[in-house]
Symmetry: C3
Subunit: 364 residues, 3 copies
């Protein structure tokens, strides 16, 4: 619903400069905005792009704002503490989320008589809640979700469609799990016995702490004995594998297609970029960063950035990568050097033979 | 059901040479065919294998066919314009697909009263169609499929079991999505705020254009503001990640386990082989090819083939790879060169000391 | 339920040394055990850790046991043939699995009238069993599972929630498939036809042999003509891609995020570590091992261990990797060598010019 720049500023708690009456009805990126759209600039890079932008209004972070921005051709400038957040609030106004469907427990869901469900929790048709499950308040359990026996969910948990939570899994408060993710499948453990792979039984559990978000089609396996742990506030992208007995710290970031082998542990604030692989029992120290496609086979110290396969500190890895580009030329250089040394050797031998001396023979 | 080579030729629109009465009842690969089977040869490589083949009939592409093929020992040769296509038609005859189950809208599916469903569309038990969804004609919505509020499907769309389409997603005509794929989950975006990862809300959408096919367990995330776009005719394999705000051109091919980070864009006819990773905001130019496991951190020009991590033009990457194999030997060579130069230096120093001369001292 | 070390020894068929009356009520890892816990040591590495362990009892493999272990401070030592297996039996006692829910065929599942279901098989609410499916005895078909027309399951098969088995797939006895795995989706095959990708129809099937286990969100595609085969006893982790027409031998191990392209074949006892990729039509010989992230583009001989991208024998790959670390230093060394050779050349030229001789000119 359209609002004036003045009204928008009130919504997002900012001050308008320029034409406070310009009408705005949605947000867009700087490249795609038209006269009825608001954009945001929360960094110098975005500010530079404002020149060619055709938006009706721009939200700018206060610490970056300069009077010259009023002259870039955008009718209204709204100055706020944090442009990205304010833009989110603006979008929330223009694109209000659908009201939550307060359906309670659908008669077309299966809920075991021994399960408990907190108030204001919705369980959609086709969900299956097994024996002794405990679900907190204000949760949304979408269609097709399975929750295995004795698993426990905190409050404000969202399980999107077709999520599978095996038994004996605990999820904290405000945990969000996207569609088709699987929590608590057996760890991948076998031992050779008589030429066959014999399954190592997995009696352990999974513990997902508060404020964790897990992406679509990701898998978190259960521990063999103890618990696989995803620490508070950690965010996991789609198609990520966390194997049995991993213990992740708080506020980690795992990007898509990352694979952590069994018993990997991490400190807080660790970041793994896309397609990273970490070998079993490796520890990733607090605040360390693994660049995309890195393969870590040994512990990574706290605070370091590692790259490559096998992984090494970024500065060294970059040196190796840069050097590799020079390899074909280096091979040619060395071949030339060999020829020149060969030639020099002949010359020197000839000089030695023809000339003096006692001293040169001794030196050789 | 068995047919003569003559009858088969009529079905696949070809001409028989040899024994037109030989009975054929199925298709096989050249290696596994027996007397009642037909095989096909659509390339020189396959033609070479016909010698040892025990099939009753072979389908050969006209432009490759030579009279000598009649002498390889296969009773009947059927010449057609395109052997692979004709073989497909033959298999369609021998293995007719099951008739589509025209069940209409199952009473065991949930379809919101505000959803619309086109004629001849089947919605199977256990599917869930949310508010304001619009589904076209001749669609098959298999069991366990979830379609979120306000999403729109064109005609002739197939969603295999347990596919999840979040809200505000649009699918064109003739779109096929395989089991457990997830379209429209939130993009993976967080910002640090007070030491915690704060979720960046994703108000955007996903647009899948006509004739797109998406593999099992693949995930296409929704945009933050605008649309994540999969261009017409693009084919995506299993377990592929396409992150928020990606915009793919037409007729792209993404093989299994490829990961595209946020805001990647591609031209038409781009090919990414298995396990490729592309960093955020990278553009892949029209017709470019990324070899398997390539990691692209910067734009790839149209028409080029790139390899390696980090990616570079294939010819250069191959040179580096070949050079790497020579590295251990190169290290030895350089050590020997050092020793020889050391020796030469001593000899030359000795010669200089023992012999003349003003000129050599000046040169040094 | 707590037992004495004496009673535990009877359960796991071992002999107690030390305090046979100490009470034990669960198992733990060596690091986390307390006085009421039993631990196990099945290798020298574990034995070394027993010193600081606070467990009430330890299970030790007979061949590793020495009298000095009685003095490490753990009250009771139980000696058995195989400590890891015995520990599993102990856990089975302390954490007895829930009784299987013998629900039979749920009225809330869909089972086609033409499907057959063996005795003692349970089909949970929300499962969908299509026409002409045959399911053996003692199977567990969890909620949300889809089994397509004419597929066949042996006895003792477990399909966890939301597994999708397309039509014409056969599963042997004792096959276990974890949640959201997809068996039998179309292979990824297209051909260019008039500038568009035309789908190559997939008329083939999938055969999963006895005792195979497949992880969550893994995908096994159907063959174009024949069968995609997973050999007996093979174990596949989560998020693994096996493409059309692959034929895997027996007792293979595929770790997480492995991708096998079309028509890959393997011998028995092959191991692929995490994130391995194998190109189409490659053969992996019996007993070979591919290290993590390896990319195999050509056949791997039986029994060999290969690493790297592109893959090569481990010893050579390690040499190359070690050499790469020396590359930056090598570049500096060669630059110095060039300078020294340049200098030597000048000196030698000066010597040649100033000194004699006929012979040196000839040699040059």
């Amino acid at each position: 619903m359209a609002v004036t720049a003045q009204e928008l500023a009130a919504i997002i708690k900012g001050e308008v400069h320029g034409d406070a009456q310009v009408l705005i009805d949605d947000g867009r990126t700087v490249e795609r905005a038209g006269r009825r759209h608001v954009v945001f600039a929360g960094s110098e890079a975005f500010l530079k792009k404002l020149g060619g932008c055709r938006a009706g209004a721009a939200i700018i972070t206060r610490s970056l704002f300069k009077p010259e921005h009023l002259a870039v051709g955008i009718p209204a400038i709204i100055v706020v503490d944090d442009a990205q957040r304010a833009f989110g609030a603006a979008l929330q106004h223009f694109r209000p989320p659908r009201a939550r469907r307060m359906i309670g427990i659908s008669p077309d869901a299966y809920v075991s008589p021994s399960a408990t469900v907190g108030e204001n929790t919705c369980i959609h048709p086709g969900a299956f809640i097994d024996d002794d499950v405990a679900i907190g308040r204000n949760c949304d359990i979408y269609p097709g979700v399975f929750i295995g026996a004795a698993s426990r969910l905190g409050d404000d948990v969202t399980l999107y469609p077709n999520v599978v939570v095996y038994g004996n899994v605990s999820l904290g408060d405000r945990v969000t799990i996207h569609a088709c993710a699987v929590i608590g499948a057996d760890g991948f453990g076998y031992r050779l016995h008589g030429g066959k792979r014999e399954k190592v039984p997995h009696f352990g559990a999974v513990r997902i702490e508060n404020d964790v978000e897990i992406g679509a089609c990701s898998t978190i396996d259960r521990a063999m004995i103890g618990e696989t742990i995803i620490g508070e506030g950690t965010k996991i992208d789609n198609l990520v594998m966390v194997a049995h007995n991993c213990e992740l710290g708080k506020h980690n970031i795992l990007a898509s297609l990352v694979g952590l082998a069994g018993s990997v542990s991490t400190g807080d604030n660790v970041i793994c970029a896309g397609q990273v692989g970490v070998a079993d029992h490796v520890h990733l120290g607090e605040g360390c960063v693994l660049g995309s496609k890195t393969g870590a086979h040994k512990d990574v110290p706290a605070g370091e950035t590692h790259l490559g396969m096998p992984s090494q500190p970024a500065a060294e890895a970059m040196k190796v990568i840069m050097s590799q580009q020079k390899l074909p030329a280096l091979l040619r250089t060395v071949r030339k050097l060999e020829a020149r040394v060969e030639e020099l050797t002949k010359k020197v031998d000839a000089l030695s033979a023809s000339g003096p001396s006692e001293s040169s023979k001794t030196a050789a």
